[in-house]
Amino acid sequence: MLRVGEALIEKIHEHGARDYPNECCGALLGNDEGANRTVLGLVPLVNQRNDSPRNRFSITADDVRLAEKEASAKGWELIGWYHSHPDSPARPSEFDREHAWPWYSYIIFQVEKGEPREMRSWRLDDDRVKYQEEGIEFISSVPR
């Protein structure tokens, strides 16, 4: 289960709406307690796929290292990533799967005509063949 505070959900939604019709992306920082994870902060990032930003996103290794540093400065971990699917369902594409690693939580949310819609979270199986959906628990305030 991935627990996400409503304020952070709102920030992710705003990011997706702002960048529509392009894909938005960012890092999820928080705690990994084994079966449960809690998102405590975000690092919104710039989609570097200038050639086809409407159906692709990319985050450079430098931005990944930046997000890792930000997480460890707060005593958290970099637990995953979020990205939007403009006018497309909130499920991982084959392209997503080819570029994923297990362990990370991948939040995907649909932005339909500029409006944020369904949000789901996914984790890749260890054999890389398919994803398992990870339930999102929306919480009103983030426990410390």
């Binding site: 796929r49 985050i59 699917h85 392209f95 570029h99 690693w101 260890d126």
Partner: protein, 93 residues
């Protein structure tokens, strides 16, 4: 050369839960070869089926991207630190 490979958090579960692995290698290719022969489960997350490093897998020697060195042929010095960092990519269908 004795070098250290830092294992990224998502892959630690495939490397005996270690944060880093010390090994002997003269090149980056040797270091990654030794790492993946010790921990076979790591292989499919670092390499694609054609045996090449996955496009989103980046390797650094002491903070220098090997793409700007001699790639996997980059030679190592005693005490070098190798980091494996993903770049993140995806999209819709």
């Amino acid at each position: 050369m004795g070098v250290k490979v830092i294992i990224p958090t998502p892959l630690r579960q495939f490397a005996g839960k270690r944060e880093s692995v010390d090994l002997e290698a003269n090149t980056v290719a040797e270091a990654l070869g030794s790492l993946t022969s010790q921990f076979g489960e790591l292989k499919k997350h670092l390499y694609s089926d054609d045996g090449r490093l996955r496009s989103f897998v980046n390797v650094y020697v002491n903070d220098e991207d090997i793409r700007y060195l001699q790639k996997e042929k980059t030679t190592l010095q005693q005490g070098d630190t190798i980091s494996i960092v993903p770049s993140i990519a995806g999209g819709t269908e």
